[in-house]
Subunit: 199 residues, 2 copies
DNA sequence: GTCTATAGGCAGATAGAC
DNA sequence: GTCTATCTGCCTATAGAC
């Protein structure tokens, strides 16, 4: 369990900007970027909107910082998986579990929900969203390559396509599961997906 | 090709309410419900916001009408598939093609994009979104049952779970493909999904 | 059914005091 | 860094004339 929610951690010293990102991240993962406002965030934080603007001049700045931090934390989680899991199937299992954790927090993947709003996002945010997906797919491709080399995985399509398929499938399973408030909807799809790769 | 875009069809007589739904549907499928306004719709329609309020008193009413009409049209497309396709694999193929068509129009599935915004939707819209998913899954379950009976499909999980997996996978493949403006990203995932069922 | 006009609220953002 | 105060603009929605 690496991808801990900062808001649930021990109360270490955190600056206002960091705490603002914590609140904004959760709100966006629940309501979407177009569904939240400076008022929402600053109210939860106990400061004024003007103070929040001091840390993030524009909403685009805030959104960009949100994605960058999320992507970094996700990348760190992937490095931890590489260290702690030895074979490809186990790594893919841990990867799916990252998504399941997010969903159990009643949230959508940050970049998944931003993908839905993609056409309305300021440009710097758009680039950061696809960069997140690209990073994930590259990591998945490496895992798939390792799995093929060690005969632990059998792919029926090019690695790149399979990697894209894994990402899309997990994002979609989250997307549909959340309205039902039922994380097990996600689990079944994830299990079937991974079973199809080891088959 | 059943699910034709009314805006691209021959100019048959259409009332203002219908034309408003056409415009709103496209806008929501591109920008999301929180990303559009009465001003956007009425401007494209060449009428005032007040006139639009005559047809749809509140935005919630408009949204509800949007989903209901979309769901009806989708259900009609499914009935056509049942009539024109004889075996389960072919039906699933046609089902995936419905999604591919939407994506080629640079749109997201209406209910897929609304699922992302679910927590901010007025209640009547929330119920209509899950009802759409439920309808789709019931149809898929029936197709899967037929495919199993005729030994055309081999399922490695309960029909219900497989149906949920198909829906989620296709929605997710659309969600991620759209930011890249590359419909082929969707096709690869859809093909692999169906191949795994006939396997 | 469509219009003009407008209400009332909230959005993102800024100026300037402390 | 945080505040109060304020601006401008857009939002949903309504009143009432035509």
């Amino acid at each position: 369990m690496t991808n801990r929610d900062p808001e649930e951690s021990e109360p270490v010293e955190r600056g206002t900007a960091e705490r603002a990102l914590d609140v904004a991240e959760r709100l966006v993962q629940v309501r979407g970027f177009n569904g939240i406002s400076y008022a929402d965030i600053s109210a939860e934080l106990g400061i004024t909107k003007a103070s929040l603007h001091y840390h993030f001049a524009t909403k685009a700045d805030l959104g960009r910082a949100l994605i960058d931090r999320y992507a970094e934390r996700f990348a760190e989680a992937l490095r931890l998986i590489d260290r702690e899991r030895s074979d490809a199937p186990s790594k893919l299992d841990a990867y799916a579990e990252l998504y399941a954790e997010v969903l159990r927090g009643e949230r959508m993947c940050l970049c998944g929900i931003l993908a839905a709003e993609y056409q309305t996002l300021p440009e710097p945010m758009q680039g950061a969203v696809t960069a997140f997906f690209d990073d994930n797919e590259h990591w998945l491709e490496a895992v798939l390559a390792e799995g093929e080399a060690k005969r632990a995985l059998k792919l029926s399509a090019p690695r790149r396509e399979v990697a894209q398929g894994i990402l899309g499938t997990l994002e979609g399973a989250m997307l549909v599961a959340r309205p039902y408030g039922d994380p097990t909807r996600f689990d079944a799809t994830a299990r079937a997906l991974l079973a199809g790769l080891t088959g």
